[in-house]
Amino acid sequence: MLEIKNLTKSYGDVVALDRFSLDLKKGEVLGLLGPNGAGKTTLISILAGTLRDFTGTVTFEGRNLFSDRTLKNRIGIVPQDMAFYDDLNAMDNLLFWGGLYDVPRADLKRRAVEILDLVELAGRAKEPVKNFSGGMKRRLNTAIGLLHKPDLLLLDEPTVGIDVQAKVSILDIIRNVGAAGTAVIFTTHQLAEVETTCSRIAIMDHGRILAQGTFDELIRIVGERDIVEIAGDFAAGAFSEALRDMAGADVELLSVADNLASLAVSDSGRIPRVMDRLFQNKLAVTDLKIQTPGLETVFLKLTGRSLRD
């Protein structure tokens, strides 16, 4: 339903999107995972039609997405900022923002009531939004993007800055919307969210997709290997040198920096031998972490850095 081809966008010297391509099918929930600065907001803004001067094409059901203003009626946007009127109540906000789409007047009110129920704000519909908690505001922000029943929903970091409970409820909403047949792209820099919410995950950095697939498919990229993170008092060069002849299929150096390195080992029996070798080379180890494979490992492998902020 959505086809993005070679989307490129630069801000001066900064290339925010670099020949970015992506396909999305009806009812798919795609989690777009990337660290800060990866280009997630830039992508969403282009799709939302608020960012210009880019190259590449975006087609929606075979039509150029930007050729026809009415196509915007089929897309719902939940921006990263809370963008609504604080001085109005939740219901009035929904009626206003929903009213900007071509929704029949009679349906609008009914939809607003439904959607408030869906995001669990029905009891607070008449209260000025400025009294809402952060989590409630996020839910309203999401509700506004859903009111006109879009076929494609784009959410930019919808769970930033809210407590766990609110997060869970937003992710529930996303799952339900997807289950109802709406295609969803939501961006995040938090791993746990995409694992539980998405039918497909794309990992992006520096403006392009590094890998995509289901959770299981992505895990296969790193194989069934354990990840060993070693911290200590050593130089990167000395560390690599010490393990040089061991490195191979069984022990792979994923990233090595001064005082911190990570490796993938296919057999945990190898770990004592690695430690032994470091010891022989007089490299002090202060901390050792062993992880079974997860998205974090995939990300580490693909980018050579950790996703954590």
């Binding site: 803004s45 203003r69 921006p79 009127y85 923002w97």
Partner: protein, 414 residues
């Protein structure tokens, strides 16, 4: 068009929900006119009241209490009140001896309470042996309280910034280091102060002249001369406040969100400008209605005057569209808006009687909307059609609009 009206309606509704700044801005010129009435009215009656003796106890010693003290220092106030500043013990003693009609106590922390919008009261101790005069004092202080807290509301953006910097007692604030926040507020306060004083002085001269030359010059005539100038000045203030949406929606992402819907940039811009225009007309008409009902102001043929109102509000909306298209952010708008309006009003004749205004002011004044509105209103009052004013305001308004729209459009999408 449907979307344009939706945005316009939504804006109007939002502003009606939080009408305080607008109500205050409408009320100030009317209150001022009323105050002038109170001050001048006794003189036209035979038995003029002697000054009322008031004791003032300032426990606050802050910005707000200084404002109150200062307001009693104005010439016209001195005719009404004879004020002695003292402490509470001495004040109580004098009250007991019947030396004063009332004692006003400005409580400790009054300024801070006002700034933080905490409920606070000016205590008025009335002399029980007098029936009438203490009530006048009480009434006056109540009005003053309303105006002060109203001013705080109207200046709430600056106050917020100012408040952040106020940690200790007011007298220990290093005023010069308060920076731009205070600078902004100060400019608005200066605008208000300058507007109050010259107006009263100008009026006094008017009064003496009237007494000498045309003895029959009545209060109503004075109102008719002053109210248009005040109305256009406060129209500028109000429309600036109302059209801030152009800027704030751009800053906090609401404009971007609007543009993700099928709405066109031109519809959003159109809604805001049309909104400023329509609300401007409504505000002027409210002032006109009050002026007519309360002060019996004679505006001249209403059709002519309405036309002037519509064109002046259009000019104002177009001007602030361009203003908000050009300024970088809300802070800059706050810092520049008041001085511009002040300058318009000073040179354009809103602040003093045109007849006592220096020649140079009048020359500079031709680039201000105030001047054309005031001159137009004067013509209409004589029953004539204000052709020059209408043409000047309309044509320059259209030019402003032609500059504003493309600029706003360019800034809507990046």
């Amino acid at each position: 068009m449907r979307r344009l009206l939706l945005i316009l309606g939504n804006d109007v509704r939002r502003h009606l929900k939080a009408p305080w700044a607008i109500v205050i801005f409408i009320a100030i010129p009317l209150l001022m006119t009323g105050l002038i009435g109170v001050i001048f009215a006794p003189r036209s009656h035979s038995g003029q009241l002697p000054p009322i003796a008031v004791l003032l106890v300032d426990q606050d010693k802050g910005l707000a209490s200084k404002l109150i003290l200062g307001s009693f220092d104005v010439d016209q106030m001195k005719k009404m009140f004879q004020v002695t500043v003292t402490d509470e013990v001495d004040g109580a003693r004098r009250m007991k001896r019947g030396r004063a009609s009332a004692m006003v106590v400005i409580p400790k922390g009054f300024t801070l309470d006002l700034l933080e919008a905490r409920p606070t009261t000016l205590r008025v101790v009335k002399n029980p042996s007098e029936q009438f005069l203490p009530d006048v004092v009480e009434e006056f202080m109540a009005t003053m309280g309303v105006m002060l807290s109203g001013a705080i509301q109207a200046f709430s953006e600056e106050v917020k910034g100012l408040r952040l910097m106020l940690d200790g007692p007011v007298e220990r604030i290093p005023w010069e280091t308060l920076g731009p926040e205070f600078g902004k507020a100060q400019k608005k306060i200066a605008a208000a102060a300058k507007y109050l004083n010259p107006l009263l002085i100008g009026l006094k001269e008017e009064e003496t002249k009237a007494a000498g030359a045309k003895a029959q010059s009545s209060m109503t005539d004075i109102f008719s001369i002053i109210l248009p100038g005040m109305a256009v000045m406060f129209l500028l203030f109000i429309v600036q406040t109302l059209m801030r949406d152009l800027l704030s929606d751009r800053e906090d992402g609401k404009l971007r969100r609007m543009l993700t819907t099928p709405v066109r940039p031109l519809e959003v811009i159109g809604a805001r400008i049309l909104g400023g225009w329509v609300m401007g007309v409504a505000i002027l008409l409210i002032m006109v209605a009050f002026g007519t009902l309360v002060f019996h102001v004679n505006w001249g043929p209403f059709g002519f005057f309405l036309l002037l109102v519509v064109v002046a509000a259009f000019w104002t909306a177009a001007f602030f569209a361009l203003f908000h298209a050009l300024v970088r952010n809300r802070n800059q708008a706050g810092a520049l808006g008041a001085p511009i309006i002040l300058a318009f009003s000073l040179f354009g004749g809103s602040m003093m009687n045109p007849e006592v205004m220096p020649k140079a002011f009048r020359a500079v004044g031709i680039v201000t909307p105030n001047r054309w509105f005031i001159d137009g209103a004067a013509l209409v009052r004589e029953g004539r059609f204000p052709l020059a004013s209408l043409i000047v305001l309309l044509v320059s308004g259209l030019v402003l609009l032609a500059l504003a729209v493309p600029t706003l459009r360019r800034r809507a999408l990046v």
